[in-house]
């Protein structure tokens, strides 16, 4: 036998031997080389490690750990508090001034000064990356650095949400000596001043974090290292939790996967308040949705509890307001107006408007954006409306790319839309839907609501703002251009031995620093 043949034969035998061994079962499936790190699995993906190019949850998970911001949301809180700043305040409605803490450093030893903050905001607005967060700072006119520790934000118009926007990961501070001023940083060697450094990053596979020894801020990390393991499919993530390849899983397991994992020994499913919301949207210029009575009758019939139970196994909570549960300014406006689902009341609404039942109504949803349970939700809605005898619902579905084009163009009489707010402020739950230029097609423009939006955006007084939000929600419940259906719960799954998940499940951002394996 020639040398080449012997090598080929040896390789084949080795492969078979490995295969035979492998098929025998691998008892210890823990990630090789983990050495006590908390390994969190997710199906999120990262679009950019540079804050100027990131406007998605997956990227912000990384950015939140690696960078500091001027302000931050405390664990469990929705009111921004200083992070790199010592203090911040509005000096007038269009000027927000901050004083930075002294002695701040980036992980490479470079000093973090007011110049770093100015540089970070200037470059983010200058780059205006198509995938980036610059649109969140639409009211920011300029950033001024005064001395080493004074930063002054000049706004184009009064914006009471500005401190909250600063506290999102769009406001991350970068090292001016590392990041280019006019383009995104290439590569994965990112430098921040946050609680962790990004030790190793392999796109779509893994991000490994280690505690940043130079960090000085309010976060007290409970682990010295954590790893984010990226999965393509929820089914693979579930399998990894089951056999212990990952210690924890966050975002996003389906309701059926969650139910299955609840029965798995050594695994704990923890639920917390989520921010995802789902709406039943009408296009108020498309028949029959152009008639207020039709919209009101739907709002009167919809059984949110039933949808949460039938379509989502109780993993979502009924929502009766545009403003999310737990957010300042929330009122149960739809519950107040319509009460419990009532066919007789709905029939009376239609009758009073001279509309003959059953009303033919088309409802469109997309199977390629809101997860597998969206089909169940659409079916549950049709079943409820048809069962009332007042509607004859025709369901149709369209792929996401075409769907969003069509809904914006007013092609659907009614449709499903989901929303992940960027910040825990009531404004972020209403203005994207009800402003003059909403992100979705509603055909609904109410001057009274526009005036109330201007009022709440221009005031820093919580009382004034909450009154405005209460009035907006009341009008929305009356006109019913959009019917809130549910608000998601956040679900994390952890293996025995992992602590801190209750605190980590924060509505604003998952707090990886709260997790610990106790090793």
């Amino acid at each position: 036998m020639s040398r080449t043949k012997r090598v080929v034969a040896a390789a084949a035998v080795a492969f078979l031997a490995v295969g035979v061994t492998a098929c025998g079962g691998n008892k210890d499936n823990s990630a090789s080389g983990s050495k006590g790190a908390v390994i969190v699995g997710t199906i999120d993906s990262v679009s950019s490690l540079d804050p100027a190019g990131a406007y998605d949850y997956g990227s912000w998970e990384v950015i939140d750990s690696v960078y500091q911001k001027v302000m931050r949301f405390p664990t469990g809180g929705t009111k921004p508090e200083p992070d790199a700043a010592k203090s911040c305040a509005f000096t007038d409605p269009k000027t927000y001034a901050c004083t930075l803490q002294s002695g701040l450093q980036f992980s490479n030893g470079d000093k973090l000064t007011s110049a770093s903050v100015k540089f970070s905001f200037d470059r983010m607005l200058k780059i205006a990356d198509p995938n980036g967060p610059s649109s969140l700072f639409g009211t920011l006119e300029s950033t001024e650095a005064k001395g080493a520790d004074q930063v002054i934000f000049h706004l184009k118009s009064a914006d009471s949400t500005f401190p909250s926007v600063l506290a999102t990961d769009a406001g991350a501070i970068v090292d001016e000596k590392t990041f280019p001023a006019d383009k995104l940083l290439a590569g994965t060697k990112v430098i921040g001043s946050g609680p962790y450094t990004l030790d190793k990053y392999t796109a779509k596979q893994q991000a490994s974090f280690k505690v940043n020894a130079k960090y000085s801020g309010p976060v007290k990390a409970q682990n010295s290292q954590f790893v984010l393991q990226y999965f393509a499919e929820a089914s693979a993530l579930k399998a990894a939790v089951k056999d212990g390849t990952v210690n924890a899983a966050f975002r996003t397991l389906s309701p059926t996967d969650t139910a299955d994992l609840k029965k798995t020994q050594g695994v704990k499913v923890v639920e917390g308040t989520g921010t995802e919301k789902r709406y039943f949207v009408f296009h108020a210029k498309v028949k029959p949705s152009d008639q207020k009575a039709v919209r009101q009758a739907v709002a009167q019939v919809i059984d949110r509890e039933g949808i949460a139970k039938d379509a989502y196994n109780g993993t979502v909570a009924p929502l009766y307001s545009m403003v999310g549960n737990g957010i300042d300014g929330h009122t149960d406006a739809f519950k107040d107006k319509y009460g419990a689902p009532d066919k007789a009341k709905a029939a009376a609404i239609l009758q009073a408007a001279g509309i003959t039942a059953p009303v033919a109504l088309s409802y469109t949803w997309t199977p390629s954006h809101y997860g597998a349970a969206a089909a169940d939700e659409a079916t549950a809605i049709k079943r409820q409306l048809d069962a009332s005898g007042l509607f004859n619902v025709k369901l149709s579905s369209t792929e996401w790319q075409q769907y969003q084009k069509d809904e914006k163009a007013g092609s659907y009489a009614s449709y499903m839309i989901g929303w992940f707010p960027d910040l825990p402020d009531a404004d972020n739950d209403v203005s994207p839907f009800l402003s003059k230029s909403p992100f979705l097609g509603t055909g609904y423009d109410n001057p009274a609501i526009q005036a109330l939006l201007v009022k709440e955006q221009g005031s820093n007084d919580p009382k004034v703002r909450n009154e405005a939000f209460a009035e907006i929600q009341k009008i929305v419940a009356e006109d019913a251009p959009i019917i809130p259906v549910w608000q998601g719960k956040q679900t994390a799954v952890v293996r025995d031995g992992v602590t801190g998940v209750d605190k980590a499940l924060d509505p604003t951002m998952f707090r990886f620093y709260e997790l610990s394996t106790g090793k």
Binding site: G19, N26, S32, S34, K35, I39, F231, E233, G418
Partner: protein
């Protein structure tokens, strides 16, 4: 220059010249298909957040509303320079994606080939040697079945049947193997992390079988038919007449000749293996190029999809050309 070497050179040049329009047609197809599908990377990622005016502004900033000829010209330039551009959805160089994930696809493809060889060659030999026996019928049936069942069916079935018990249902997670060659198993060997080697190999078995099933049928049928033909050859009769042992007749003489067309066919299976690898990697969460490709298709990332598909296509074109050259070198009839 001899007449023989002149004809070979002419053949090679003609083959390369013919490959150019083939590649061009392919590039046009990839480009058009991506544009025909509704949506773009901006609406895929930001469509649920931004209004129509902001989306249009971002599309303009990204150049997605540029004239088609301009976009196609940029694409052609990126292919010619082998740069392939930067992805929109996560700002990665397509070249880096190929380098970083190519090793995993290569490993999987190699695993599939080993599986196909280890199963296909002995079964093909037995089926050919014991023609019309039960073994032959069973071998042929297995070959047809494995060839007919697509990866999209075979892979999930394997996963369901063996994934949980063998620990291969969960994806490969390796934390501390430093990247050197971008071939994970080799990198683990270099640093002597044998736990990692075992874990990687363990996770390689099921995907290799799923992908290998795609070509094992071809192996069985090709070896069987060629062995039958070889065994009917005069030189086999002569060998037997000289008293050469039957095992040597089959193993040394018939098998060797039966393998020549298999090697040719093997090259042609590369396209099938690559397309199968896309699905296999997705189902088993194997960190190769195929898994990346599906992610980028979902994100409508034109640059990434065009780049990856183009690289796949170029690999197939180059391999098929190499096989043609080898055939032409071995068999002079091919070049005339």
């Amino acid at each position: 220059m001899s007449k023989q070497s002149g004809s070979l050179r002419r053949y090679i040049l003609t083959r390369i010249a013919l490959a150019i329009p083939m590649v061009l047609i392919l590039l046009v197809l990839v480009f058009v298909l991506m544009r025909v599908a509704p949506g773009d990377p901006i609406s895929a990622s930001q469509g649920g957040k931004l209004n129509a005016a902001e989306l249009a502004a971002r599309r303009h900033a990204a150049g997605f509303d540029a004239p088609m000829y301009q976009q196609f010209w940029d694409y052609l330039k990126s292919v010619v320079t082998l740069n392939f551009g930067t992805t929109f959805s996560d700002h990665r160089q397509v070249r880096d994606i190929i380098i970083e994930n190519g090793g995993a696809t290569l490993t999987l493809t190699f695993g599939a080939l080993v599986f196909a060889s280890v199963i296909g060659i002995p079964v093909g030999l037995l089926a050919g040697r014991l023609r019309d026996s039960t073994i032959d019928v069973a071998g042929r049936l297995f070959g047809i079945l494995s060839y007919a069942v697509p990866v999209i069916v075979a892979a999930p079935m394997l996963m369901l049947a063996f994934g949980a018990t063998s620990g291969q249902a969960s994806p490969l997670v390796q934390l501390n193997v430093p990247t050197q060659t971008h071939i994970l198993i080799v990198d683990a060997m270099i640093v002597g992390d044998w736990d990692a080697v075992g874990d990687i190999a363990n996770h390689l078995v099921l995907p290799s079988i799923a992908l290998g099933l795609l070509i094992v049928g071809v192996f069985i049928r090709m070896i069987r038919i060629n062995l039958i033909q070889s065994l009917q050859g005069d030189y086999i009769e002569a060998a037997r007449a000289r008293g050469v042992k039957e095992t040597a007749v089959v193993g040394r003489h018939a098998f060797r000749n039966a393998m020549v067309p298999v090697i040719t066919v093997l090259g042609l299976q590369v396209a099938m293996l690559l397309s199968g690898a896309v699905l296999t990697e997705r189902i088993f969460t194997w960190p190769g190029i195929g898994r990346q490709l599906i992610d980028y298709i979902n994100q409508r990332d034109y640059v990434a999809v065009q780049g990856i598909v183009t690289v796949f296509a170029l690999v197939v074109v180059v391999i098929s050309m190499l096989i043609d050259f080898i055939n032409a070198l071995i068999d002079p009839r091919v070049r005339y």
